[in-house]
């Protein structure tokens, strides 16, 4: 069981991700934008962060850049949830320090497979 932070401004996507991961036995917290994620990450230590790219207040790329400067978050896996129309975002995310990505749209099985890949 891992402690996972799901960040997305879309409540339906967030609940789909959280519901799926909880069903697989993980402990999931949710945040609705990058700033909220930073706040939550300040209070808990997460084993994995899944973050949408395009969000109001603070986008996912800025969030990754910021969180990598936080103590304890240097090597924590962070996956960007990107869309295929934005391949350049994958590279932007990597440059900011993201571990990898999961391309939207994804289904619960793909999500679990990718998470298993990172958590080993």
């Amino acid at each position: 069981m891992a402690k996972i932070l799901a960040v997305d401004d879309s409540a339906s996507m967030r609940s789909m991700v959280a519901f799926t991961l909880r069903g697989a036995g993980h402990d999931v917290e949710e945040a609705e934008n990058g700033q909220a994620a930073l706040d939550t990450a300040g209070n808990h230590k997460f084993d994995l962060i899944l973050a949408d790219v395009n969000m109001p207040v603070m986008d996912g790329i800025s969030m990754v850049r910021e969180i990598r400067t936080r103590p304890g978050y240097s090597g924590v896996p962070i996956l960007m949830l990107t869309t295929e129309s934005n391949p350049e975002k994958k590279m932007e995310g990597k440059a900011a320090g993201a571990t990898g990505w999961l391309v939207k749209p994804f289904d619960p099985d793909q999500l679990l497979a990718t998470v298993a890949r990172v958590l080993g």
Partner: protein
Amino acid sequence: MSKVDLAQFHKAFHEESLDGLDAMEQALLALDEGSDDPELINVVFRAAHSIKGGAATFGFTDVAAFTHVAENLMDEVRSGRRPMEKAVVELLLRSGDTVRDMLSLSMAGQPAATPESQALLAELSAMVSGGSAAPVAAAKAAAPAETVESWDITFRPFDYLLKTGNDPARMFRELGALGPLRVECDASKLPSLADMDASSSYLGWSLHLDAGAKRAAVEGVFDWVDGDCELNLAPRIAAPTPAPAPAAAPAAPAAPRAVRDPAANSEASSVRVGIEKIDTLINLVGELVITQSMLSQFQDGVDESQLEMLRDGLAQLGRHTRELQESVMSIRMLPISTVFNRFPRLVRDLAQKLDKKVVLDLRGETTELDKTVLEKIGDPLVHLVRNAIDHGLEVPAKRLAAGKGDTGTLRMEAFHRGGAIVVEVADDGAGLNREAIVAKAVQRGIIASGDGMSDDAVAELIFEAGFSTAAATTDLSGRGVGMDVVRRNVMDLGGTVAIRSTQGSGTTFTITLPLTLAIIDGLTAAVAEETYIVPLVSIVESVQVQPDGVRSVVGGGELFRFRDQWLPIVRLFDVFGCQGKRPPVDEGIVIVVEGEGTRIGLFVDELIGQQQAVVKSLEANYRRVAGVSGATILADGSVALIVDVAGLIRMQARRKAA
């Protein structure tokens, strides 16, 4: 693997998409008015982007395809390749409407691609540069097939790799899942212990995967570290085989659309409640529990010295109960902005169509109304706004000639007054035309002549059934819905509509609505052994009638004189078939009530008092009963029926006609 039913997220997706579309519309309108705030463009882009992502995830492919093209268009604007011109705003506004329709079709389990949506999609695609929208997944040129026997891989991460959260050991495990893997480690670059940084990577590896794994699978293991390492993937090929004829696009398995469970799709309406309201509730319940435990010490009796404490406790209980009631009621309350939000668009479209200049002034948008009232007040407001722009406000030339600015103002304002909510729709247009209204009313046979009628009385005429003053019926107002329907809709909500007009300077409609439909203020009245409640809003006056002021008419009806009118007396005793003594007319009270512009007198034995009644649905608990709108429970635990005044008036009218 997982058994996650995506249908459970459809409703949340639908709601957030509607919110996104509303935000998009508001941003587009602001952009249309010349704002150059870049965040507005982001809002529009994000709405299209999120809906596309969600629609694709939850299987609404038609919606996803449509929003994909809208998103591309917005991406061009966002990146500065296209100016945000009128035509773009126009097209995106229409797109928002279409997506709204497509979503509701999707939620109903129907195909969302309609001829209209396809036509608009074609327009969108034509606008996006390059004309045709590139298919989302361009078929890759078929690579010649290789028959790989095994893979030799050299992999040397750059020193920062571990900091990105990628872990070579994990990647080797993935490779190991593809087949037997041999790993050799090259530690030649390992620094002395003193110089070592635990979070840096110094090792390199040579790997041999003894399996004919597909290139995509092997590359897939390393896709996240592309650019963060030296990587060489060398397949050992057995014997080259000629490239097979490019396989026809894999016949997409026509997956039968899952038949939606109609129950899962039920229109159970929900309310989103702010967390602070829930917190208040929890607080209050907590205090109630404390009060309860304080009072429970008196269960074995009270001695005189404790009376003061008991009184305090009961007062506290009363206060908490009242606060709890208010707080629970507030859960059903939503800000009127949810209704007002649609008007900027409507006003813009109407003004454009009629070549008028209109500024919409929305005020009091945070005023809260009962959800049911909110849902039903939209249509009457739309009608008033249409009327105001169509008939009330003048074209610029006419305004200038009248010495006014060329731009008309339409004010929509909501506020509290007493125990009610007031919504005003006011324009600074020409005002009602007395002569035209009188002429029309005479022509329609509503009145004989306008002589001696006050301006207010003339204004009231527009609420008569079938009244319309537009010289030429435009496609905006002449929709067969008159002001009489507006008034009826508002009255159904327990409210009233009043009009105030000044020739030359404008018209104001004032809608007064009850705070909630769940609680009414009523007058309790006794009839034989029963208690009935008459809603206070419909009561004009209560009078005692003398036998000589009553006339019997053919068919058993009774009339009584009320000021200068003869009104029918409706005896609740007869209507509800009460048992017992039927008192003569001078031993009871007549409550004069008004509904839908008609007055009748309700005859009861006596008035008991005024009280708030929590309305319980009779239909839900028993069945619909003519002349009764609901029931409530009295302080002594007995049930009292709430009289449906409008229903009784209709019953009376039918009896008269019969």
